[in-house]
């Protein structure tokens, strides 16, 4: 049952596309894998695409928030892309604020945003 989320490297950016519903263990494994990959590749940006995710509960939101903080400690910036309308609505109703998180509608805009951030 322990499925690992693939982390791809594209130049100085790590790209992650979450394609199936995250259970607790997969989510925590992903945190570890991403930190190790950041360390190993010295990437300066991370793009996490959530297009295929149809709901986010407080646990997954916390994991994503933690990943952003951890990446920051590792010197990398994170952009979240592809948040679905239903996910945006339920997150806010649930009372979860992902403050200061860089987001973009899709992968293309996400990469642009990340590169602009990294140039500053």
């Amino acid at each position: 049952m322990n499925m690992r989320i693939p982390i791809l490297k594209l130049y100085d950016t790590l790209i992650v596309s979450i394609q199936w519903e995250l259970d607790d263990r997969t989510a925590l494994q992903f945190q570890e894998d991403l930190m190790e990959k950041l360390h190993e590749t010295e990437a300066s940006g991370v793009l996490i695409d959530l297009t295929a995710i149809d709901f986010i509960d407080s646990f997954i939101a916390k994991v994503i928030g933690d990943v952003i903080q951890m990446s920051s400690l590792m010197g990398a910036k994170v952009v979240i892309t592809g948040i679905q309308p239903a996910v945006a609505i339920t997150l806010i109703e649930l009372g979860i604020r992902l403050e200061g998180v860089l987001t973009a509608l899709d992968l293309e805009n996400g990469l642009d945003k990340l590169h602009k951030e990294l140039e500053d």
């Binding site: 709901f55 509960d57 009372g95």
Partner: protein, 133 residues
């Protein structure tokens, strides 16, 4: 007429099973994608609360047909420690598990009707209803 199905909560995998059951039911009742997300999220929070605070319990899903209205009832029940101060857990931002769990006010906002019955040392039953619009 009520049709019911349920998932017993023992492990974190059962949290996944409960929300999958809820999502499938919501879809087949005819809820749209936003309501499906609300229902799935609400069940996930309720099931996680059972897992975190009570250890074990049950998530039960019932289909409601109330005359012209159709809907879904989610019943979360456990024989855990109970909630000593319900008013406090209904305050936004209150959580005893250190940031995990958005809390009951968040779940209440996702559904149309919400009720907590709890007794210290006996357990907690939370009933939530979402009506098809």
């Amino acid at each position: 007429m009520n049709e019911r199905s349920s998932v017993e909560i023992y492990t974190e995998w059962d949290v996944v099973a409960a929300r999958q059951l809820g999502r499938d039911e919501a879809k087949s009742i005819g809820f749209g994608t936003v309501d499906q997300a609300r229902i799935t999220t609400a069940i996930s929070e309720l099931a996680r609360n059972i897992y975190l605070y009570a250890g074990t319990g049950k998530i039960e899903i019932r289909r409601l047909h109330d005359g012209v209205k159709k809907g879904m009832m989610i019943i979360s029940s456990d024989n855990g420690p109970g909630i000593p101060d319900v008013r406090k857990v209904m305050e936004d931002g209150f959580t005893t598990s250190g940031g995990l769990g958005a809390g009951m006010p968040g779940v209440q906002r996702l559904v149309d009707e919400f009720k907590i019955e709890t007794e210290v040392g006996v357990g907690t039953t939370i009933t939530a209803i979402k009506w098809l619009r």
